[in-house]
């Protein structure tokens, strides 16, 4: 088991050494810290009507207030938390689901694989976004956990496909045959032999899942399909649209959530690229 510790240490060294990965991670961390400042500065959760509406930015309200009587600065910070919550929750669950299905299909093969592969292909080809819209519209009470569940249910296919093809190619390698011949059971092989070799793929899938989930969630919210009473970045943009913030030039309602979203995505993409570079030496600059 100590070899796993050694592997982790080496992996950590590699990751931190990569400029792209490191900068992405730092950016992400900073945004996260920013959102946690609500606890440091005792900023209360912005409920509707808690403050006078339509105020411009001032010392009291750093980003002004929105049309629903909320301190926009608080909305922004709590909104970041929501994005992180949904992103990492749904991202983790969908990656886990994808890994499970990918492992099973890729390793077991046969009929099970045929069925699973068809399901994966189905979810890959059918455009998921319109379906999510339809579901969101149909569901009466969209809460954050429900959204997370929906996003999970429709984001696992990317990971599943990547993991499955990797498992399939690993399966044919010599050391797996040796393990099989020496009598290891399926689960043992999966955990001790295949899994350690897949960590980089799973990590990459995870980052992509999170990115995808946050993106999808924001795109649903921007058209108003999020949990209505939630504070989130996408909803901030939605309400700003509803109140015509653009034509009225209320940049404080628009630019902050946009900036945070952009920085969030950039950091996630940097993480992905960094992981890419680490696993593909040719992309590394010497």
């Amino acid at each position: 088991m100590s070899s796993i510790k050694v592997r982790f240490k080496n992996a950590a060294k590699l990751l931190v050494g990569n400029k792209k990965f490191l900068s992405g991670l730092i950016m992400l961390f900073l945004i996260f810290m920013m959102s946690l400042s609500v606890y440091i500065f005792s900023i209360p959760y912005p409920t509707f009507g808690s403050v006078p509406a339509f105020r411009e930015p001032s010392k009291q309200f750093l980003l002004g207030t929105d049309g629903l009587g909320r301190d926009l600065f608080a909305v922004l910070l709590y909104g970041i938390q929501t994005s992180f919550y949904i992103g990492f929750m749904a991202g983790t669950l969908s990656t886990a689901l994808g890994v499970l299905i990918g492992f099973l299909g890729g390793y077991k093969g046969g009929l099970l694989d045929d069925v699973l592969r068809s399901v994966i292909d189905l979810f890959l080809v059918i455009p998921v976004w319109p379906i999510l819209v339809l579901i969101s519209v149909s569901v009466k009470s969209l809460t954050i956990p429900v959204m997370a569940f929906l996003l999970t249910a429709f984001s696992w296919q990317g990971s599943a496909r990547a993991i499955r093809s990797q498992v399939m190619s690993l399966k044919e390698r010599e050391f797996i045959n040796i393990a099989r011949l020496s009598g290891l059971g399926t689960f043992e092989i999966l955990f001790e032999e295949i899994f350690p070799n897949m960590i980089s793929y799973i990590a990459a899938s995870f980052v992509m899942s999170v990115t995808g989930v946050i993106l999808t969630e924001a795109s649903l919210e921007v058209i108003g399909l999020g949990p209505p009473s939630a504070t989130s970045l996408g909803l901030m943009l939605f309400w700003s649209q509803q109140y015509g913030a653009i034509v009225k030039g209320w940049w404080w309602w628009i630019l902050p959530p946009i900036s945070v979203l952009v920085v969030l995505f950039i950091s996630l993409i940097l993480l992905t690229l960094g992981l890419d570079e680490i696993s593909n030496p040719r992309l590394r600059k010497t």
């Binding site: 590699l14 030496p281 590394r284 010497t286």
Partner: protein, 320 residues
């Protein structure tokens, strides 16, 4: 002094990796005459391929040439600019890479890939180039229909021959062939070796033939150089080396070749080559050498001419 075709002096080619600098070629010198087949032998990882690529300045990051000179017909290849290097390539020096299977562009027809090479250097019409491609294909014993095919439609041996056909397209003076027969069955191997021999005879080209297979060297090579862990250990006429191998490593290599005439024990070679990251001081073969002396672990043996044209780097021959 007659100008040699190729003169390499003190070439060092390294690779930068995450864990340090790998010294793949660590001070190699050789000369190749006109019209001779020069063999380079050694285990995988001894630096042969790196040497080949470095000679053509095809070494890509993380590999780089640390120092050394490469003279082709007296011209210093290291100082050539991009355009002159490009012109020199193929028309003067051709390259048959290792695992040629992957060297062909998967989405281009064979004839186009051959014509490409021709048209990049000669001002011919497309038809003339196509004629030549047909001629070349026939020369390597392939049927005409191969020209219109795509690489994935051909077998490994056929692809190899296509690459050879491309290599001789412009009648180059030097052909660097890296493991041209590996991964092919013996029958095809024979055909390819025959083709190479004919190339030397008809084109009067020199061939730098790189392979770990000593039997191949025995078959067609004129002079042989044996590498070990990035260094040259023995160099000389092929007959001399086979009849009277000097370096312990070379002795083992030759005794490992199975022959039909004699029935004898085939001895394997225990141990592994040293790491090229931090090469040990002294002779690199020391840990595996049955004749090892104390001096071997401390001082690196220099390449010394022990009889006319026969060089060896080994402390056993100090007094010779």
């Amino acid at each position: 002094m007659i100008q040699q075709l190729l003169e390499i002096k003190g070439l060092r080619a390294y690779y930068r990796t995450l864990v340090g600098v790998v010294r793949a070629v660590d001070g190699v010198s050789l000369t190749i005459k006109r019209g001779e087949i020069f063999g380079i032998a050694g285990e995988s990882g001894c630096g042969k391929s790196t040497l080949a690529k470095a000679t053509l300045r095809l070494l890509k990051s993380p590999g780089y040439i640390h120092e050394g000179s490469i003279l082709f017909e007296g011209r210093d290849l290291m100082s050539l600019n991009e355009e002159n290097l490009r012109k020199l390539r193929w028309s003067q020096i051709a390259y048959i890479p290792q695992s040629s299977m992957n060297s062909l562009n998967p989405v281009m027809r064979i004839e186009n890939q051959i014509m490409d090479a021709i048209l990049a250097h000669e001002n011919w019409s497309k038809d003339k180039a196509r004629e030549r491609a047909l001629q070349l294909i026939r020369m390597v014993g392939l049927p005409e229909r191969v020209l219109r095919m795509y690489p994935h439609e051909l077998s490994g041996g056929m692809k190899q021959r296509c690459v050879i056909a491309t290599a001789i397209a412009l009648s180059p003076k030097l052909i660097v062939a890296d493991e041209p027969t590996t991964a092919l069955d013996v029958v095809i191997q024979r055909g390819i070796l025959q083709a190479l021999r004919e190339i030397k005879e008809t084109l009067h080209a020199s061939i730098m033939l790189i392979t770990h297979d000593m039997a191949v060297h025995a078959e067609i090579v004129d002079r042989l150089m044996v590498m070990y862990a990035g260094k040259v250990v023995e160099l000389g006429d092929i007959h001399h080396i086979f009849k009277d191998p000097l370096h312990p490593y070379v002795k083992m290599l030759i005794s490992a070749i199975p022959t039909i005439e004699e029935r004898r024990e085939i001895k394997g070679m225990p141990g592994r080559p040293p790491s090229l990251l931090n090469p040990p001081s002294g002779c690199r073969f020391y840990p595996r050498c049955p004749y090892a002396m104390k001096k071997c672990s401390q001082e690196e043996p220099k390449l010394k001419e022990v009889s006319p044209g026969h060089f060896v780097a080994c402390h056993l021959y100090e007094g010779w």
